[in-house]
């Protein structure tokens, strides 16, 4: 088996002639926490959309665990164990917190099309669902309507729902965006915990999070890979510093 769980070759996406992503060769090593960083509009979310098949690439290929998944349907890719989160938290707001996690667990039951069966049959999943909720510290919110929870908790719920699928690889699009200091710490700890035994690719603007969490970093600007390496390597790269001129983020991140 290859060391790389996910590989793209020449991945490109054009929107009406505008190249949002061009010629990206991304290799993510199994077991790594890999960061994808870059300024606003660099094409990070578009790369995620391509990897998870929410958008078809204009050219290029995507291999996941050695299989070519370039033309697969998004739900089929998800079933392989490559699960994404969204830049803006993605939950089912009208369902309870417990029901949200159960949606993740439910597919394995194979009763998804059983319209004649009582929903009480889903109670068999409650134990496992509670376990997952406890693991992200949401146990006591099980019966809360999800839409009524604060943002940080929704993000935690999103991760619990994703974990329900036992993904081999998780793609997290700015998991700490819009969060206060405490929430960030909680989410970072959570990501570290769930990264055991799986691969994570994450988009992250907060560079101190990247510095202390990620094994490897790819820097994207204007749709292309500018640099790749460890945090030390990337943060010393003059081209990267230039791309970040004005933001000065990359230096602050050490503190």
């Amino acid at each position: 088996m290859s060391d790389f769980i996910l590989e793209t070759a020449g991945l490109s996406k054009e929107f009406k002639g505008f190249a949002a992503v061009s010629g990206v060769d991304l290799k993510v090593r199994r077991g790594h926490i890999h960061a994808l960083i870059g300024p606003n509009g660099a094409g990070k979310t578009t790369v995620f959309n391509l990897l998870t098949k929410f958008l078809p690439p204009t050219t290029g290929t995507i291999h996941f665990e050695g299989q070519d998944i370039t033309t697969e349907a998004p739900a089929a890719t998800a079933r392989r164990g490559l699960i994404r989160s969204f830049q803006i938290s993605a939950t089912f707001p009208g369902l309870t917190v417990l029901e949200n996690v159960r949606i993740g667990l439910q597919r394995k039951l194979g009763t998804g099309f059983h319209f004649w069966r009582s929903e009480k049959s889903l109670d068999a999943l409650n134990g496992k669902a509670m376990e997952l909720l406890e693991s992200v510290d949401l146990g006591r919110f099980a019966d809360t309507i999800t839409g009524e929870m604060p943002y940080g908790r929704k993000r935690a719920l999103e991760i619990a729902t994703t974990l329900a699928l036992e993904p081999t690889m998780m793609l997290l699009d700015e998991p700490t965006q819009g969060m206060g200091h405490e929430d960030i710490e909680r989410v970072v700890a959570l990501i570290r915990k769930v990264s055991e035994g799986r691969t994570i690719l994450m988009v992250e603007h907060n560079l101190s999070v990247v510095a202390n969490l990620c094994d490897r970093i790819t820097v994207l600007t204007r749709g292309s890979v500018l640099a790749e390496g460890s945090y030390e390597e990337v943060s010393r790269d003059p081209r990267v510093l230039e791309a970040y001129v004005g933001s000065a983020d990359i230096n602050d991140a050490h503190h």
């Binding site: 998870t52 929410f54 349907a73 998004p74 739900a75 089929a76 998800a78 079933r79 699960i83 994404r84 989160s85 969204f86 993605a90 939950t91 089912f92 707001p93 009208g94 369902l95 309870t96 029901e99 159960r102 949606i103 993740g104 439910q106 597919r107 039951l109 009763t111 998804g112 099309f113 059983h114 319209f115 004649w116 069966r117 009582s118 929903e119 049959s121 889903l122 309507i145 729902t161 994703t162 699928l165």
Partner: protein, 318 residues
């Protein structure tokens, strides 16, 4: 009763359903049965439509096609092939389900207004087919459909007997809808309606779930249409006309979209208004319906049942 789990409604619901069931049983002795049968047929039609719009979030603007096709199919089976009424109803339901599958396959990957437009266009094709084909009787419709004997035994020309058949069909349809909403499938449907990309990212083939919802809704709309043909001994172009597709939207919104009882209430109000006003104001009825529609959309979006639920909820909290 609402989309959300709500303890208070959950506890009150069996009582309410029980009370309504008893009312349904005694109603034909107090109210003109034909009128009640009309409400139940349209009520089931609207409930079926609500399953799709209220619980799957899909706006079909071609549901008359299912009501009408099932009506014609049932009429032909019973009148021209001489089958018993229950077989006619099943046959009509099946015809609508098949047509629903065809519509669904063609429309389901589109969303929003495009989905509505495709269903409308397909329904118009069904309308012209019904208008042109000899077997459906063109502008005259399919007349003189005998009610026949249920299971070959019970004479349905008796209005009370016919009423109880219609009531049974309604209850069966209503039960199927209720169960569907509260099933593992219903749970995924809710998830898709709440956040479709997320459902996809969790590995659900959303198109297949929507298709099943569409076929179920079409089949139940067909069950209503087939039953209606037996009641009025007639299948006509009115049932496949796009007016009918609009009327079911109105009934559902007026009664309360996404509430389990709303569509029945909405159907009751519209059918009553139509029969009350038809003699008095003639074609102004259409204008009045339009005004109701506008008021409904502007002032009480939750519909009658939805607003009542909100009232009860508020009273419960205070």
């Amino acid at each position: 009763m609402t989309i959300n789990n709500n303890g208070m409604f959950a506890r009150a619901t069996p009582l309410l359903f029980g009370a309504l069931f008893i009312i349904g049983l005694v109603a034909p002795f107090a109210v003109y049965p034909t009128f009640l049968m009309k409400i139940l047929c349209f009520g089931l039609f609207a409930c079926a439509f609500n399953l799709l719009l209220g619980f799957a979030g899909l706006l079909s603007f071609g549901h008359a096609a299912f009501l009408g096709t099932a009506g014609y199919a049932c009429g032909m089976l019973v009148r021209d092939l001489g089958v018993t009424p229950e077989v006619g109803i099943l046959g009509g339901t099946l015809a609508a389900a098949i047509l629903g599958w065809v519509f669904g396959v063609l429309a389901i990957r589109r969303s929003g207004i495009y989905f509505a437009m495709i269903t409308l266009a397909l329904a118009q094709m069904v309308f012209f087919f019904a208008l042109q084909w000899k077997a459906t009787g063109g502008e005259d419709g399919l007349q003189g459909v005998p009610r026949g004997h249920l299971f070959g035994l019970i004479d349905l020309s008796n209005n009370i007997a016919m009423y109880y058949l219609v009531f049974a069909v309604f209850c069966a349809g209503f039960f199927i809808i209720h169960r569907t909403i509260h099933s593992p499938f219903g749970q995924i449907l809710k998830a898709i309606r709440e956040n479709e990309p997320r459902a996809v990212s969790l590995g659900y083939d959303v198109a297949k779930y929507k298709l099943l919802a569409f076929v179920l809704s079409a089949a139940l709309a067909g069950m209503a249409g087939a039953t209606k043909t037996l009641v009025f001994q007639l299948a006509s172009l009115t049932d496949v006309h796009w007016h009918m597709s609009g009327e079911v939207v109105l009934m559902t919104l007026l009664g309360g979209l996404g509430t389990i009882l709303g569509p029945l209430v909405g159907a009751g109000v519209i059918v009553s208004l139509q029969s009350e006003l038809a003699d008095k104001v003639g074609s102004w009825v259409t204008v009045i319906m339009g005004v109701i529609f506008v008021l409904c959309v502007l002032l009480f979006r939750r519909g009658i049942v939805g607003e009542l639920q909100a009232l009860i909820k508020r009273a419960g909290i205070n």
